[in-house]
Symmetry: C2
Subunit: 456 residues, 2 copies
Amino acid sequence: MTSVDSFVSQHRDRLLEELFELLRIPSVSTLPEHKEDVRRAAELVAKRLGEVGLENVEIIPTDRHPLIYADWLHSPGKPTVLCYGHYDVQPADPLELWTTPPFEPTIRNGNIYARGAVDDKGQMYMHIKALEALRAVHGAFPLNIKVLIEGEEEVGGASIAKYVLENKEKLKADVALVSDTSLYEPGLPTLCVGLRGLVYMEVSADGPGQDLHSGSYGGAAPNAVYGLIELLAKAKDADGRIQIPGIYDDVAGPAPAELASWKALPFDEQGFLRTEVGGECLTGEPDRMVLERVWSRPTFEVHGIGGGFTGMGSKTVIPAKAVAKVSMRLVPDQDPDKVVAAFRAWVAANTPKGIRTEVRVLGAGPAVVVNPDHPAIDVAARAFKEVFGRDTVFIRAGGSVPIVGDFAKHLGIPTVMMGLGLPDDALHSPNEKFCLENYYTGIRTVAHFLEQYGRA
Amino acid sequence: MTSVDSFVSQHRDRLLEELFELLRIPSVSTLPEHKEDVRRAAELVAKRLGEVGLENVEIIPTDRHPLIYADWLHSPGKPTVLCYGHYDVQPADPLELWTTPPFEPTIRNGNIYARGAVDDKGQMYMHIKALEALRAVHGAFPLNIKVLIEGEEEVGGASIAKYVLENKEKLKADVALVSDTSLYEPGLPTLCVGLRGLVYMEVSADGPGQDLHSGSYGGAAPNAVYGLIELLAKAKDADGRIQIPGIYDDVAGPAPAELASWKALPFDEQGFLRTEVGGECLTGEPDRMVLERVWSRPTFEVHGIGGGFTGMGSKTVIPAKAVAKVSMRLVPDQDPDKVVAAFRAWVAANTPKGIRTEVRVLGAGPAVVVNPDHPAIDVAARAFKEVFGRDTVFIRAGGSVPIVGDFAKHLGIPTVMMGLGLPDDALHSPNEKFCLENYYTGIRTVAHFLEQYGRA
């Protein structure tokens, strides 16, 4: 065997079939009825880690879904890389919008269609297969490896956060490697050096003591659904600027050089609208470029709302209860606790007459930025360039990978965010996909990075 | 047998058991899965009409749920009364809030608890049992009787509206009798001489082409749920005044004498809040008394809203779709078509950037007022006073009984609205009830009215 590249081309079919086996397990971490599926996915991943030569493979029980740990520490004097990924997925609903079933992975147009194809089973599995390739080529790993994989990324990641905090010595490493982001565009090697944070909350509203007849009481009784609507509508102005006092106080924008590099990136606003967003037009702060809005500006979103009668036909109730799921994406240097406090104060101040509201926090994590001058980032950029034949670009992502913040805070290490997704992969949506060639290229890129970082 | 009053006291148990049999049928007209139950309820009602001596009993098929017609026309020279009621009911959800199951009628604290107990099976059945009492006492009915009972009142009443329009001669009468309203307070004989109208609509909103990841797109993509929230929040100001242009243009308020009589009615605002509404405080136009707000002012309500993710836990989507059920209660002299047009224009003008909205009308009917000087109203007031021993008051109701408008428009007749409900009967809500004594008193009052109107 001469190279990891030829290893990958010789084992294409098996590498894909193994991924399909993992994608077929509906490991939806937020739904209690899938708890057993999540456990099955953990067991399969642990088995594969042992098969590629990792040692001390553990399935670590938690309060919710298990963690998986493994290592190989026989390269004294070489750096240690902590590989992270997650084997849990988002719910697949609405099911009727999927062309093929979400847990029956299917190849169409050169893509793997399945829930979790790109987020993050496919990308997590690239790491495992890169390790297999390295061992097959070199007979050993070129540096020290620690692997930590979780099953709660889509539900806030409470267990891994606790585990990292309590196992700093065990997890000690020089850098973390995470593949849960995207290429800026197909074929363009991309390292992500910034992520937004997130606070996710549930807001419930109570109006009358019970659902009331809108004929008998309409005009004099509070309406829980309307009260919640009135409240939430005040959160943003027509241009998408958040109206919660203090929310922009701590926002640190990108440095002029970083902003200039974003302006230099190819960006087709009409294409972005047509092929990714798919609506009438883009929205948001009109005085900022789209990349700035999604990478470096805080957001307020309502993810769902429910209350009253929404079945077939008509029912004339004044609803007693309503609930909404809301979140704010955070940017450097916003403090999640401060943002939650500001939101709570704003809700209290703006709850309409006759309505009682309650705010429940479901998850919170800060934004993260990585210094692009770190040696591992430099090696990663070169490995990427080598495989793709193009200069690597440095971008940010609008999403959150909370573990990257934990690695920085508790382990004091930066993270190489080497993601092989594409902007139109429909993460969290129906018809999620992962470009088949990016799966193979990702395995090669990860292997090249580890080879070269072992030599550095 | 000397009187209808003694007939009722001698047959209390059977009169109740017969009603229970009808209440046990879950004839929920809006839910397709109950279509067969609705039909069973129609068959039972038709059977009972024949048993009490009505002739020409017909179960009339329609596009949705059957109508029932019956008559007895052997009192030449006497007036003809058209008795109306409905045997369909509202959905019972949320089921978990019922103390006893909605379709297992139960007596507690002197009340019959069941879906449809008061709206309208219990009150419709008073008519049938009043006819039985009259026949038992007099051997015949004291005037001419036509009965028309529908199974679509809770879903807009399309079939009966069409039937009335197409059968004006068959349904010709001097007055209609409807028992689908409430006493102003327990023991106070009450005739309703005004009803609000209703336009009921569904508003749907589309944002992005599919649900999007709020990390990747948050800040630049439209959100269908938030767009619908922003739109609907503009419909009313903080005091509940509707902001849709032109909506108050045609509103005819009560005459000074009628308004004065409302002010003379006992009204305990704190009691109304505590025992009926059950929330923090009342809402609505602060410069108008509560009775004015619910009887003679238009409303805008959101009955339900749904969109995005509302399950357990968290899901970070930007929802592609959202839908809300909304209605406006109408007062004299608002024109439903004009109100719908004003609403459509307002939606079009206020739909936020990036959102497409659609309005679908599910039902529309105007407000109705009855002249209290009509002879039948006068006889009804006296019959009521006779049974209750107190002067009858004239009120309005905030709800809609669309058929009353159709009788006025197509048959040219007024309606005696002789309702025996109570203000806290929880119509359309969990734990709907009908005061047991009001059931018996209602049978007597209806019988007295028909006896005396036959003599008038």
